[in-house]
């Protein structure tokens, strides 16, 4: 009995010694470490196109003026200009027809109004919106449509169909009707290049593009003195999502 108690005492002392030893080892075994900390932000790209300007057509009648291009009609003078006003109207001329775009500055440059008034055959009328692509990622024009607001009884409603049907220059030497075409001026370039159809056009940041409504009336009294409302949408989409 006495021997057992002495044994237990020895074991207790040994355990205590081990605990103290382990405590000391704990400090001694802490590994050497060092850390680098990282902070940062993630910014996503942007896709943004805005109306930056407009182009317009002004047609004047100048009494006594001989026929001259581009209309070759007597006394008719045609000015195609950037902007919504003509900086140099002809002296003595009376404004008889116009195609003018006015941007709506109250809607974040995403809306424009076109007025094509007094149109007649023999003159090409062109009104456009000048768009600037401001997004940081490449984009593609996925829709460029301007069409008549449904008015089936109106003869002018047929102009869009006529414009599509007479598009082929090999079949029709002169295209009539209404259609969309345009121009592009890549960032850094100083010249505009004609674009037959803006659909699928890829845009990089700061590229400029004109989307134009082009109207050439056919001869015929059935087109006289009519009026029609139209609407359109131009959509750009991130380039890798464009499906032709």
């Amino acid at each position: 009995m006495r021997r057992n108690r002495a044994g237990l005492k020895r074991i207790g002392v040994l355990a205590l010694a081990l605990i103290i030893a382990l405590g000391a080892l704990g400090t001694a075994y802490a590994a050497w470490t060092d850390s680098v900390y990282i902070e940062g932000t993630v910014n996503t790209g942007t896709l943004d196109i805005d109306v930056a300007g407009v182009s317009s057509t002004f047609v004047y009648k100048v009494p006594g003026n001989p026929p001259e291009p581009p209309s070759n009609l007597p006394e008719i003078v045609v000015h195609y200009v950037f902007g919504q006003t003509d900086p140099e109207p002809p002296a003595g001329g009376a404004l008889i027809a116009r195609a003018v775009t006015v941007p709506d500055t109250s809607t974040d440059s995403d809306l424009a109004y076109m007025t094509l008034a007094g149109l007649f055959p023999g003159v090409d009328f062109w009104a456009d919106v000048e768009l600037e692509y401001l997004g940081s990622i490449p984009a593609t024009i996925s829709m460029a449509e301007i069409h008549a607001i449904d008015d089936p009884g109106n003869k002018l409603d047929s102009l869009w169909t006529l414009g599509r049907d007479t598009k082929d220059p090999l079949v029709y030497p002169v295209r009539y009707g209404a259609w969309i075409d345009g121009e592009i001026k890549p960032d850094g370039s100083s010249t505009w290049a004609y674009v037959d159809d803006p659909l699928g056009l890829e845009l990089q940041q700061f590229d400029m593009v004109h989307i134009a409504l082009h109207v050439r009336l056919p001869e015929g009294p059935e087109y006289e003195n009519l009026s029609l409302e139209f609407a359109g949408t131009i959509t750009v989409i991130q380039y890798n999502e464009y499906a032709p």
């Binding site: 995403d110 149109l119 009104a127 997004g135 009026s227």
Partner: protein, 163 residues
């Protein structure tokens, strides 16, 4: 019994997939921006009218009158019991509509040939321009230069053509 439990599992799986697809739908929405255009398109035509104006003298034993003809470019002018020394005047108006072109007078004449009678057109001339929403007023002046036609009734036709 076992089949029903299997169907339950499939139902839960389908619902989870639906929810996952819904969430993906948001994630896959492509970036787009749009420009909207609204507008009107209107055509024009030449829309002018020729009408009679005031005539003087327009009553009594000798007078002048104006009537509109079936042809819209013509007016009938008549003098009843023409007298020497009397001046007969009839005004006429060429009105150009609001939605019309500016027009130029390209032809202006008064027919009717009588001995000793002069018929002049005043205040309007070939090459005059009439803008939309404007009215140009001319005047026909008839008078006898001799008494050769005195006491006769005279008729004239005024023609105005614009381009």
């Amino acid at each position: 019994m076992r089949n029903r439990r299997g169907l339950n599992k499939i139902g839960i799986l389908a619902m989870v997939l639906l929810l996952a697809l819904g969430a993906m739908g948001t994630a896959y929405g492509a970036w787009v921006d749009e420009i909207y255009i609204e507008g009107t398109l209107s055509t024009s035509d030449i829309n002018t009218t020729l009408t009679c104006g005031a005539c003087s003298p327009d009553s009594g034993t000798t007078y002048i009158a104006c009537d509109e003809a079936a042809n819209p470019t013509k007016l009938n002018i008549s003098v009843t019991n023409a007298l020497e020394g009397e001046d007969y005047y009839c005004e006429f108006d060429v009105n150009n509509a609001v939605n019309s072109f500016p027009v130029t007078v390209t032809f202006l004449s008064i027919s009717g040939s009588y001995s000793g009678v002069a018929a002049d057109i005043e205040d309007l001339a070939v090459s005059d321009v009439i803008n939309p929403a404007e009215t140009a007023t001319g005047r026909v002046h008839i008078y006898l230069t001799t008494d050769a036609s005195a006491g006769q009734d005279l008729t004239f036709v005024l023609t105005v053509i614009v381009h």
